[in-house]
Symmetry: C2
Subunit: 163 residues, 2 copies
DNA sequence: TAGCTTAACTTGAAGTTTCAACCCACCGAG
DNA sequence: CTCGGTGGGTTGAAACTTCAAGTTAAGCTA
């Protein structure tokens, strides 16, 4: 990248990178596996359902939902079509502005979230929080924020706009 | 999960979880995007090529390579077929034991890695190491190890069998 | 009000990953 | 030495994601 053939990673950095890369792959696939096994849905589908379950009226615009679930609008559109077929969600044009589409969680969909969430949270707790001390959790949070800020300099905060 | 409706995440835990989840999605997609833009390959393909480039004789068994790149054997098989079509890799049965297949990096493939790696490492450095202090890097590494151990209690170490 | 532009989706095709079935080289038992 | 078992690898189909249009509602301009 630069004149001197670009600084390689030293041993410590390399170990850190392996730990982080391993974490990203393993953790997300472990959580995916738990959801698939216990609820028959993917992590992305879970995020969509959970996103709706937390919204007022259990309703959100597709574009907002896509941002919340960290996916493209196209991906969300295909996914919601599948969820619709399951009877968990339905779509309707926004009465206030016909360009938007509102996704709404049905009662059946709500039941699905209620049945699924506790097991998923338990798995997150088992894999992420149980093995860490309070101090380590704080450090991890801080490091995560810094990296996220490096990726998204503008946005005030990570994925879902909290802080 | 348990009697009392399964412990939910408190505010601090929730913030930590959002930071970590955001990190996993954003970082991997940012690195994917860099590779796609600058080299026209996916992160998985890069890992395969890089894995071969670091191996003795630029050669590895498919199963070893799959473990190194954190992917299924089937996924690797399809991927290597594509890389073969590009002329970057070829496959040959292991002369020592015909059940194994050896994947070998060609000279063209080597050139591809050499052309691609510095830019990729620079991006990792920019997004992960530059924003963290030395101490934070160490803490992140430690937390990553612990989480990885929770996911893989048996394996002595994360993804690629180093340590 | 007609025409242009923009932005939010949707859609179908192409590309990738997963899943389940299959093939085959080696090994060990009889 | 042959027969079954085991494990590495491949393959094709189904499922999913991405990509490049296409559609439509709203706003703006004349």
């Amino acid at each position: 990248m630069s004149a001197d053939e670009s600084r390689w990673l030293n041993d410590e950095e390399h170990a850190t990178w392996l730990a982080l890369a391993g974490l990203m792959v393993q953790l997300s696939s472990a959580l995916d596996a738990q959801l698939q096994r216990d609820a028959g849905i993917s992590h992305f589908e879970y995020q969509v359902l959970a996103g709706l379950s937390m919204a007022p009226e259990r309703t959100r615009r597709m574009s907002t939902l896509a941002a919340f679930a960290d996916g493209s609008l196209s991906r969300l559109s295909h996914t919601v079509k599948r969820l619709e077929k399951q009877g968990w969600v339905y779509r309707t044009p926004d009465p206030a502005d016909g360009r938007y589409t509102l996704a709404v969680l049905t009662d059946t969909g709500w039941d699905k979230v209620v049945a699924t969430a506790p097991g998923h949270v338990a798995e997150v707790r088992r894999l992420v929080f149980d093995p860490l001390t309070k101090a380590q959790q704080k450090q991890l949070r801080e490091a995560g924020h810094r990296i996220n800020k490096a990726i998204n300099p503008d946005t005030r905060c990570p994925g879902a706009g909290n802080c």
